[in-house]
Symmetry: C2
Subunit: 159 residues, 2 copies
């Protein structure tokens, strides 16, 4: 069981933007900081923008920043919003389910309860809650950026 | 986010065996009852047997049955034991993790807590707990078997 790479990278982008308040960040910069594929990051950023979590500005001095305050961005909502689905078992989606015992199955209620507990826990966290070690995190990001070829933005980092 | 098909089918096999106490069931019978690929079910049964949840007997009158009482089979343990891993994010596995901020990241602790809540909930269920509607479930299984080509075992079903 795992979250998709798309959800994982979405959370990382929001984390990065939350750790760099007051300036616009670029896709290249974030992809290099995390050492992940830039094309994948383009799709992630597009979806985050569509969902209203980030705002983007085109052009030479363009880039992206959070569209909301970190305390307004709920980790549970981002997880649900960036995962393709949360159907833990085949029977969770009645349109594609083929399991014949689904209508009377008790097991799925247990899995439903477990999923609820999972999401209830995530719903208690905002992006602000997971930014409480910004200095240490920024130092590591800065280190990662220094290793990568990202001279165009290195000057913007505030460790 | 979803459980793998392997874990899904593993739970279904245990459910089926729990609903047919006192006799041996065959792989063909279970695969047909659920309408799933028999080859996939062979692998599932092999792993369940290796893990000690079911016991198998070879030969003409062979088949499988639960190796433990339903109340001794924990749904959380089966889920963990049949999922390849529970690494929700890349950083959960330090051996393959590439995320540079992992050492100081606070987000992963939130996801850890959510996974714990998920598993804690599943740990409260035994196989016996999810068999509390056996009559209705058996009736549906019987219906599914009657539709499939499984004349060799139909006589064994006790609705």
């Amino acid at each position: 069981m795992q979250l998709t790479q798309h959800a994982d990278y979405s959370l990382r982008v929001l984390l990065y933007l939350g750790l760099h308040p007051g300036r616009r960040c670029t896709i290249t910069e974030i992809a290099e900081a995390y050492g992940v594929n830039r094309n994948h990051m383009v799709k992630v950023v597009h979806k985050l923008s569509q969902a209203g979590w980030i705002k983007t500005v085109r052009g030479r001095s363009g880039g992206m920043s959070l569209a909301l305050k970190p305390e307004q961005i709920n980790i549970g909502a981002v997880t649900i919003g960036t995962e393709p689905h949360m159907n833990l078992l085949e029977c969770f989606d009645p349109e594609t389910n083929t399991c014949p015992i689904s209508p009377v199955c008790v097991l799925k209620h247990g899995i439903f309860q477990a999923r609820k507990a999972f999401l209830d826990t995530l719903n208690r966290y905002s992006l602000a809650d997971v930014l409480i070690q910004p200095e240490a995190t920024l130092a590591l990001l800065h280190q990662a950026e220094s290793v990568g070829d990202c001279s165009s933005h290195r000057g913007h980092v505030k460790p």
